[in-house]
């Protein structure tokens, strides 16, 4: 079965990223496929590569980046939600004349249409609300 996930919660503010991460691993372990993970609203904060949590706490953004690269998953971050929260890739940083970028490896900035497409292309779309 083909799954897509939508994540609306920010790490350290909401349990949603953790629940979604455990669920995503269980999807793979159950032999299903993940078509896309869509990060929306405060969920875009999962895609920063600059988070530096204490060493005895889970590094939730780094954990997503590793998972996405390990399993070659399409991870889309809503561009409108991301830019207004300071989650930005190099291309957009140049466009808006910002001093740096922070989008972690494996993530892509794109539009809400990718969430709609994920709903159409997947057997199940599971939302993890904040």
């Amino acid at each position: 079965m083909i799954f897509s996930l939508a994540i609306y919660g920010a790490p350290y503010a909401s349990q949603a990223p953790d629940t979604a991460y455990q669920f995503a691993n269980a999807v793979i372990a159950s032999g299903h496929k993940i078509h896309r993970i869509f990060f929306y609203m405060d969920g875009v904060q999962n895609a920063t590569k600059l988070a530096s949590p204490p060493q005895d706490e889970a590094d939730i953004p780094a954990r997503w980046s590793r998972f996405i690269l390990d399993h070659q998953i399409d991870a889309v971050v809503c561009i409108a939600a991301a830019l207004r929260r300071g989650v930005i890739n190099e291309e957009e940083a140049n466009r808006y004349d910002k001093p740096s970028s922070n989008l972690a490896e494996g993530f892509t900035l794109s539009g809400l249409g990718q969430l709609v497409e994920a709903g159409i292309e997947s057997d199940r779309l599971v939302t993890f609300g904040y």
Binding site: A29, R124, L125
Partner: protein, 95 residues
């Protein structure tokens, strides 16, 4: 048939909103703070008795509620969560 997930405690309107529209044959999976609806006494005890209710075991354990879960509520692990989403036609998340 729909699997409804609820991630907020009964204090929040998510569960009452879900209970107003849930159809016959559909089920509820309580996750995160939603598991507080799975314990006794629960303000939704009577309504929950008539429905198939699941609760995520990790979230029950994390909150120390293991010995308070209402009879009739089935606990599942994350693979059980995945299996439920596959078993029902679609998933509606209340948050």
């Amino acid at each position: 048939m729909i699997l409804h997930t609820i991630n907020k405690s009964p204090q929040h309107s998510a569960i009452s909103a879900c209970l107003r529209i849930i159809g016959k044959g559909s089920a509820i999976l309580l996750i995160e703070d939603g598991v507080y609806a799975a314990i006794s006494p629960s303000p939704f005890h009577n309504q929950l008795c008539d429905l198939k209710i699941y609760a995520l075991e990790a979230d029950i354990k994390a909150r120390g509620l293991s010995d308070k879960v209402l009879p009739g509520i089935e606990t599942v692990d994350y693979q059980g969560f995945v299996a439920l989403t596959a078993q029902y036609d679609s998933v509606q998340s209340w948050f």
